[in-house]
């Protein structure tokens, strides 16, 4: 499907084409700024070559205005490109709130993707075209970087936190995806396929790869099997915060700060429980650092998130 021989790489999204346009115009600026240097250097070296007869009278050694102008004018030109590039970057950094969410975990040396319906895949990422897709990245070990050249985007997956990446692929096709941040021995084997499917094909793919349950459902199973429900269920004897309706709400902490219960907060509460203790609760939660993998934690986060939606629906 891809024409690998072409010099210009595939652009699979409108964003990618915008980046290409910016890059092309910037290349023009590079030529404009550097051509005078190259041309004049050759011209002068020829014209004023030692031993050659040329008019060398009254050479100038300084001219304040000329110097200031060739400092300022290129800078202003570049500033225009700064504005352009930064506005594109802000688009890249702000995922739409209603985007389809896919979880990705990087580990030495593979990419694992989990779809909301519980479908899992390794080193392949199937997405529907024409839809905003957000990938939440986590890392099990070292820093990785999810790079999809055809979309002109990449984002590091940093251990200890979640990062995000979003896109809207337009051209169906199979593209290359890779890890761009050096991550150890088989770094260059940490590649895979990015497969953009027409919505109908995507639905078929989801159905064919259907799993036992959604991500949230798997999270619920873990919630019971890992012992979370022992304290956090409504009928537990231990005094632990209830998780119903927690997601997205402000949480007052013991030290007076207030944080929003987002993915990162829930993750930290599971793995670094002593760090941000909710006000009024004892310091009794153990860490699950070496018990749960990043994928498990993502499932639990999905479950806690689903509880919020459930409680909203139960409201009168």
């Amino acid at each position: 499907m891809n024409d690998f021989a072409s010099a210009w790489p595939d652009a699979a999204s409108a964003y990618a084409s915008n980046v290409d346009l910016l890059a092309l115009f910037f290349m023009a600026l590079v030529v404009i700024l550097s051509a005078p240097v190259f041309i004049l250097m050759v011209v002068f070296a020829t014209k004023y070559r030692r031993g050659k007869n040329a008019d060398r009278t009254e050479p100038i050694n300084r001219n304040m205005w000329v110097e200031v102008s060739w400092a300022v004018v290129p800078f202003l030109l570049i500033l225009f490109f700064y504005g352009w590039a930064t506005s594109l970057f802000i688009v890249h950094a702000s995922p739409p709130s209603d985007a389809l969410e896919i979880k990705a975990v990087g580990k030495q040396w593979m990419w694992k993707f989990q779809h909301a319906g519980g479908q899992r895949e390794i080193n392949e990422l199937h997405v529907p075209v024409g839809k905003d897709v957000k990938v939440v990245l986590a890392s099990q070990d070292v820093i990785h970087s999810l790079y999809i050249p055809a979309l002109r985007i990449k984002q590091d997956a940093v251990p200890g936190r979640y990062t995000e990446l979003w896109f809207n692929a337009e051209k169906p096709g199979t593209y290359w995806l890779a890890c761009a941040e050096f991550c150890g021995t088989d770094h260059s084997a940490m590649t895979g396929k990015f497969i953009a499917l027409r919505p109908a094909d995507y639905s078929r793919w989801l159905a064919e790869n259907g799993s036992d349950g959604s991500l949230a459902a798997e999270g619920e199973k873990l919630f019971v099997s890992s012992g979370c429900s022992g304290c956090h269920s409504p009928d537990a004897k231990v005094h632990a915060p209830s998780l119903a309706g927690l997601y997205g709400r402000p949480v007052p902490l013991e030290n007076g700060d207030v944080v929003t219960a987002d993915d990162q907060y829930i993750r930290d509460s599971i793995l670094l429980p002593q760090s941000q203790i909710a006000a009024g609760y004892p310091h009794i939660m153990p860490t699950f650092e070496n018990i749960l993998s990043e994928e498990d934690v993502l499932k639990l986060v999905a479950y806690v998130k689903s509880l919020a939606k459930a409680s909203e629906e139960n409201l009168p």
């Binding site: 690998f4 021989a5 010099a7 210009w8 980046v19 910016l22 890059a23 910037f26 590079v30 700024l33 550097s34 240097v37 190259f38 004049l40 250097m41 002068f44 004023y48 070559r49 030692r50 008019d55 060398r56 009278t57 009254e58 050479p59 100038i60 050694n61 300084r62 000329v66 110097e67 060739w70 400092a71 800078f75 490109f81 700064y82 590039a85 930064t86 970057f89 030495q108 070990d141 070292v142 820093i143 970087s145 790079y147 050249p149 055809a150 002109r152 990449k154 984002q155 940093v158 251990p159 200890g160 290359w176 890779a178 761009a180 050096f182 991550c183 150890g184 770094h187 260059s188 084997a189």
Partner: protein, 558 residues
């Protein structure tokens, strides 16, 4: 003007009375003959001899780093892994990076030519602290021995950037030893920088005011400031990594609540300015070469001098542009992107001012100027592609691809190494007192330029097409460009060896250089070549601006 060596006139080795062959009078009293024992070299405090010690050591490390590069390029000839294992490849490029950065590029121009020339150019008998200078060479060698030791033990596989938690927890190479090596060599840098700053402040000859300093001195001053202020941050960061590996310190370990990105902040706070440690001395050299080639004062002396200081200062404000896709706050990224554009301004000033210097010059096409022209060309390409990766949206695509690899090689290898060779060809007659073959010099300048572009230009395209760096195995569509690059690298490798041959030859058979073979200005050219041990019999008094070439008022008619 005896700058052109005519091969017919070269000294006859069979004729012992030939003045070109036997030891000349100046050579007999020069620093080179002030003691012939090994001891007289290893315990010397003469800045010129220390410079030669450095020159020999960094040439050795350049060679080792080059071999590692050869392994890398040979392996990339095919998309699959055939020469080395994945692990072996990672060790090869890590070694290439570590050795080239800390044992060649950073000490290259400052520790050899800076050491040799700063006292000569400002009219001093030595650096401010001669014993400290020798000590810093020993520290450098100690660090080098550690690195070679690591090489024997099997190397390290973290990349020269030592990103955590890969380096601190997961890598299985000798990270602690390499960190120690770089830690040690850092002290050598700090001491050298300190020595230069004090020397430039306190030991200028009478009349050598700040406005009369050669631009080489200005850029070395700026470099020294970076060496002193940035290197300690790297030292402490490496110490923290070692502590992390040995005792589980945890600052960069998310499992203890640490932050892997903190390492990147600390590392790049040193390592971005370090790029300017590599390139500022080169800019100083090129200013000298351009002025000497054009026989004219550098256009806009004050702007060029000031831009060195500006680059050094602003260079400290841009490190975050290495972290645009790392998960750094987007506001921080926007600020760093902007500051990175600002640093382009002083660099641009230098380029345009050099070009203007050539206007109505009396331009020599001897090897030093060819190297300088090569430098300017490669530096312009490297600098402007640097702006491209400072643009946030473009960088998101190009970060950690071959585009970046090509960009920084244009600056650090194309630029700095060209300038290093330019300096070598310009001051060689001063250092050893003999002239080399100008024809071969021109040839090697051209071969280096061609070989370099052949090697690295394809990598820009590779990068834009999405080839990530540090990849051992890669998709087949990239093979053509990789092969071009590897072929270019072999041309480059041979071109780098050429000067070794004819410069060595000149040591024995070159014509005596005389005080000022290029017929240029500068205090170093007023004394014999090679200089006597104490540089100046009498400390000179300076009474004019630098590059004080006669201005021709009327057109010369043939």
């Amino acid at each position: 003007m005896s700058s052109v060596t005519n091969h017919d006139e070269r000294p006859n080795p069979d004729n012992l009375d030939d003045p070109g062959l036997s030891e000349t009078k100046t050579e007999r009293v020069s620093y080179l003959r002030a003691g012939h024992t090994l001891r007289s070299w290893l315990f010397t405090t003469d800045h010129k001899r220390v410079a030669l010690l450095y020159m020999m050591s960094i040439t050795f490390f350049f060679f080792i780093g080059g071999i590692a590069a050869a392994f890398v390029r040979a392996d990339l000839l095919t998309p699959s892994a055939d020469l080395m294992t994945n692990e072996g490849y990672n060790r090869a490029f890590t070694l290439h990076g570590v050795i080239m950065v800390w044992f060649f590029l950073i000490p290259s121009i400052p520790n050899t030519f800076g050491n040799f020339l700063i006292p000569l150019m400002i009219g001093a008998r030595d650096l401010a602290f001669p014993r400290l200078n020798l000590l810093s060479w020993y520290i450098f060698i100690l660090g080098g021995i550690f690195t070679l030791f690591v090489l024997i033990l099997g190397g390290v596989d973290t990349g020269w950037t030592f990103y955590t938690p890969l380096s601190s927890m997961y890598a299985n190479g000798n990270v602690v030893l390499v960190a120690t090596a770089v830690f040690i060599v850092g002290f050598s840098s700090i001491l050298t920088g300190l020595n230069f700053i004090v020397t430039i402040h306190k030991l200028r000859a009478p009349g050598m005011t700040w406005g009369r300093l050669p631009l080489f001195i200005w850029s070395h001053y700026a470099t020294s400031v970076i060496l002193v202020l940035a290197t300690p941050v790297l030292s402490v960061t490496l110490a923290l990594i070692a502590a992390e590996r040995l005792f589980g310190l945890g600052i960069f370990n998310p499992e203890l609540g640490g932050d892997p990105l903190l390492f990147q902040h600390l590392f790049w706070f040193y390592s971005h300015p370090a790029v300017y440690i590599m390139v500022l001395p080169a800019l100083g050299v090129v200013s000298e070469l351009v002025a000497a080639a054009a026989r004219k004062p550098v256009f806009g002396y004050k702007f060029v001098a000031g831009s060195s200081i500006a680059i050094a200062v602003i260079g400290f404000l841009v490190w975050g542009h290495h972290m645009f896709v790392s998960g750094q706050s987007i506001y921080a990224s926007a600020v760093f992107s902007f500051l990175s554009l600002v640093v382009a301004v002083p660099s641009g000033i230098k380029i345009y001012n050099w070009t203007a210097t050539l206007y109505k010059g009396d331009i020599s096409l001897d090897p030093p100027f060819l190297f300088a022209m090569g430098f300017i060309g490669l530096f312009v390409v490297g600098g402007l592609t640097g702006l491209a990766v400072a643009m946030l949206a473009i960088d998101v695509h190009l970060h950690d691809t071959y585009f970046v690899v090509a960009h920084f090689h244009y600056i650090m290898v194309g630029g700095t190494v060209s300038a290093y060779f330019g300096a070598l060809h310009f001051w060689w007659p001063k250092i050893v007192g003999r002239l080399y073959s100008v024809v071969w010099g021109r040839l090697s300048a051209m071969f280096i330029f061609i070989g370099f572009n052949f090697t690295f230009f394809p990598q820009f395209i590779l990068g834009y097409e999405g080839m990530p760096r540090r990849y051992h195995v890669y998709p087949e569509q990239f093979q053509v460009l990789h092969d071009m690059s590897s072929i270019g690298a072999s041309i480059l490798g041979i071109a780098y060896l050429m000067p070794a041959v004819y410069l060595y030859y000149s040591l024995r058979y070159g014509q005596p250089a005389g005080n000022n073979p290029w017929n240029v200005t500068g205090l170093e050219w007023t004394i014999p070549s090679p200089p006597p041990k104490h540089n100046f019999d009498e400390i000179p008094t300076v009474d004019g601006p630098p590059y004080n070439y006669p201005v021709r008022k009327e057109a010369k008619h043939a």
